[in-house]
Structures are given as structure tokens and as C-alpha cells.
Symmetry: C2
Subunit: 144 residues, 2 copies
């Protein structure tokens, strides 16, 4: 990962996934992490996070404009709430059609709704299932 401070990366949701992503990306990029709860940032403050945090009402589009979402190179939407993630992805796409978005879908059954709306998404559970099936199919040395 090369240092690229000119790129602004916004991460919405500072749970386990958002915080790990923020820690990793803040080494090379200009990272801003948003969450509605101040306490969520404890996951970052105890470790080597070098980006910025901001408590905002993530369901408020005006608040998102206020954090320069229009200047972001990429936005990761990784809250645990699929409905919020969908609304945010849809709304941010309207605000800034040029930004790259990765929205998390927690429930695989909701994936088709995201796809129909033309949203760029990733589904961690489906990815895990694929990995786990591979784990079974490769006949590795027996677990000791």
C-alpha cells in the first residue's frame, strides 16, 4: 500500500469491520470515520489510528455533505443495519455520482434489492461461505 494522502476515504460505521478497515487504510490514506456513537471510536483510540473521527447522525444527508462526502475518492458503508446501508448508498450516489462506493449487505437475502438499485456491494457472509466450502473441499492434512 503506497502512501496517498491526497485521497479522501470515508468510512461510515465504526464497528468491528469499520474500525479494522480504518486502522488499515489510515496508514496510507486520508481517512475519516463516521459513527453515530462516540463510544464506537474506542476501537480506534486504543490502537494506532492516524485518521479522523466524527460523530454524526448517519441517516442525515445534510450532515454527510458537511463531511465533504462530495470530495471523497471512496466511501465504505459498513454499519450493521442493511436498511441504513441501502439508503446511504443510494443517497450518496445521488449526491456524488463519481465517488466509488462499497456498501455492506449483512443479509444475503437482501442482496438482490441492492443489485436492482445498481449499487456496488459486498456481502461478507457469502464470501465467508465460499471460503468455508473451499476449506472442506481441499483435502488438506487432517486437523491435529
Amino acid at each position: 500500500m503506497r502512501l496517498n494522502n491526497s485521497k479522501l476515504i470515508i468510512i461510515i460505521g465504526c464497528g468491528r469491520l469499520g474500525s479494522e478497515l480504518a486502522l488499515k487504510l489510515s496508514k496510507a490514506y486520508n481517512v475519516v470515520v463516521l459513527d453515530k456513537e462516540e463510544s464506537s471510536f474506542e476501537r480506534l483510540s486504543k490502537r494506532n489510528f492516524t485518521g479522523f473521527t466524527r460523530v454524526i447522525d448517519t441517516s442525515d444527508m445534510a450532515a454527510l455533505k458537511d463531511v465533504n462526502i462530495e470530495k471523497a475518492h471512496m466511501v465504505y458503508i459498513v454499519t450493521p443495519d442493511d436498511n441504513l446501508n441501502f439508503m446511504l448508498a443510494y443517497g450518496i450516489k445521488k449526491l456524488n455520482s463519481g465517488v466509488r462506493i462499497a456498501a455492506r449487505v449483512n443479509d444475503p437475502l437482501k442482496k438482490s434489492i441492492f443489485i436492482k438499485a445498481g449499487l456496488n456491494l459486498f456481502c461478507p457472509i457469502e464470501d465467508s461461505v465460499m471460503d468455508l466450502v473451499e476449506e472442506l473441499e481441499k483435502e488438506v492434512v487432517k486437523y491435529e
Copy 2:
């Protein structure tokens, strides 16, 4: 995935991950899914699941013996509770050292404890972070 009904696969935890995995694997293997809540199996009953389900107290090792954990080819431990997952992986390894185990660690900070105990694990959050960083680094066509 070839049909291989002689292999018994046990999945502990029927949340989103466990149920998707069960649906996928039951097409080719003999699958038993365990959960402490009967209602968890609704994720399976509404779809094409062809394996077996069983409500058991997953923290009770005697109950696990009762579901032939010793005859399993592979056990997936995918509850949302890392402490339970750790205890189960450790306990099942003692019961049957030949079985293959994949235990889920939800909190990346706990990963080292699993590793120290010599447990085979997977960490969905770390995998997702890797995928998401790659997503940023590949300079694909801008999201439209």
C-alpha cells in the same frame, strides 16, 4: 461440489452464516445443524435445506457426543459468541483429534488466543478488510 453423502458435516450455530453454509453444503453432503434456539432454523425451513437440524445446548459437551460429533468429517463452529466458539473448538478437538474444525472468530483482537491454542480458525472481518482494501487499490472504472 460432488455428491458425497458419506461425509458428515456438523455446523454449530444457525445464524446468517451458519444457515447459508448449511444450505450450500446440504446439496452435496450429509449436514447436521445445531442451535440452541428452535426459531433459528426458520432460515432453513423456508428454503431448500435437505439436511437435519437439532436444538441442543451447545455449551454441553455431553450433548455434542450425542450428535455423533466423533464421527463428523468436519465441524464448522460459527456462533456469534467468540468465547463459546473457542470453548467448543477446544473441547471438540479433545473429543476427536481427527476431525477437521473451522472456528469463527468475530473479534480480530481475540485471534491470537485461538492461534496460541493451536485451533484452526477463520476471521470473517479480517478477510473482508483485505477484500475491501483491494477494492480501493484496483483502479477500476469509476462507480457510475
